[in-house]
Symmetry: C2
Subunit: 224 residues, 2 copies
């Protein structure tokens, strides 16, 4: 079996990506980054998703992005609530974490080289998203190009591929595909600002985008 | 003053880069990565170099690359000794750390965005080096290209520059430039495999390259 590193946050998107990568016949080495995120409960969701999918390994790496701050997810800045769609589509919110996907993919690149994997899967999406620049196809393409100059594996002829299978899907399409593959979305967690007991707020961008998509499928979001 | 993030390892190269960036009028925000490296003593050297240069801030970030392993610098694998120049020039040694510079530059990118810097300095060098792929000019150019698609700052019109002022210098030329700028190389540490007391081994690639350069200038390496 071909090995793949899958960046697994514990959210709806990355849970779908695990199922897609498995459907393509990859052996999954899940990598979760504990970056000090406000929504710690997503780390527990990642562990559940890894376990139920029988991944080959699930590695959690700890990096203190809270030392830098600069985001509502890594500091005391408040998470915005109840933003309307027009606002979501026109400005990058304060939940943006500087260089987050660059940092995550860099760790995935190092991990992939150590285990001998040529494939990295990431659940970024440029349709129903918060406008984060590091979720765009041009960013992923540029990262892949850089990665193929960065490693000993590349010098020795390996070709690394960054798979972003959700890139051009709407959230509704992502969920429909996940349900087809048997993903249990009740195990996932997407809220940026959960209560102490882990309950989703239902009002941050991440909750709103997710809820609307389940509604469009005539379903209730099982994580609410 | 323009702000610059300088990746500061505590070695000869990065100490020279601090002096060069200061000479170009930048205000220095030094960033040192504690990645669990075998040569812990270089972290103390980084603190000395930061202090003597009066940098604006010196941030140390801790990331556990030892969780991945795969290198003599992050695991129990032995550091090669007494390699001859032909061998140094023909193979990438086991001291290579998978994706290290990609990871370091990614953190520098996030840090630069948080503090509002558009310039990152890194002491990579593709002449007298160990053949690491992530020290080559094509890698740095590809990283810069990716970085300019990755951030909110870039979307808003900022242009990030990765400065690698040592890229095409020999080690002798680097030291000559550093001495001209007043760098005290006795404060730096380059050895991959120091004794418990922090004494350089004098036989790893890093020691050998450095020693030869000081010799070519008719000097003794002050770190030995």
């Amino acid at each position: 079996m071909k090995k793949a590193v899958v960046l697994l946050s514990g959210g709806l998107d990355s849970a779908t990506v695990v199922a897609i990568a498995q459907g393509q016949g990859f052996e999954i080495f899940a990598l979760t980054v504990d970056y000090g995120q406000r929504h710690r409960v997503e780390l527990e969701a990642a562990a559940r998703v890894a376990a139920v999918n029988n991944v080959k390994t699930h590695q959690v790496i700890h990096i203190p992005l809270t030392d830098f701050g600069g985001s509502a997810l890594t500091s005391e800045i408040a998470v915005p609530k109840d933003r309307d769609e027009a606002k979501m589509n026109s400005e990058i919110p304060i939940t943006y974490v500087p260089a987050r996907n660059t940092i995550f993919l860099s760790f995935a690149l190092g991990f992939a080289e150590v285990i001998g994997a040529n494939d990295i899967f990431v659940g970024v999406n440029a349709v129903d998203y918060s406008g984060y620049p590091d979720c765009r196809p041009e960013f992923i393409a540029a990262f892949e190009n850089m990665a193929n100059l960065a490693t000993k594996a590349a010098v020795e002829g390996a070709r690394l591929t960054i798979h972003a299978p959700l890139m051009s899907l709407t959230k509704t399409e992502i969920i429909r595909e996940g349900l087809r593959l048997g993903v249990d979305y009740g195990m996932t967690h997407s809220c940026y600002d959960p209560s102490d007991s882990g309950q989703a707020c239902g009002r941050c961008d991440s909750c709103l985008i997710r809820q609307r998509a389940f509604e469009s499928l005539g379903q209730l979001d099982p994580a609410l």
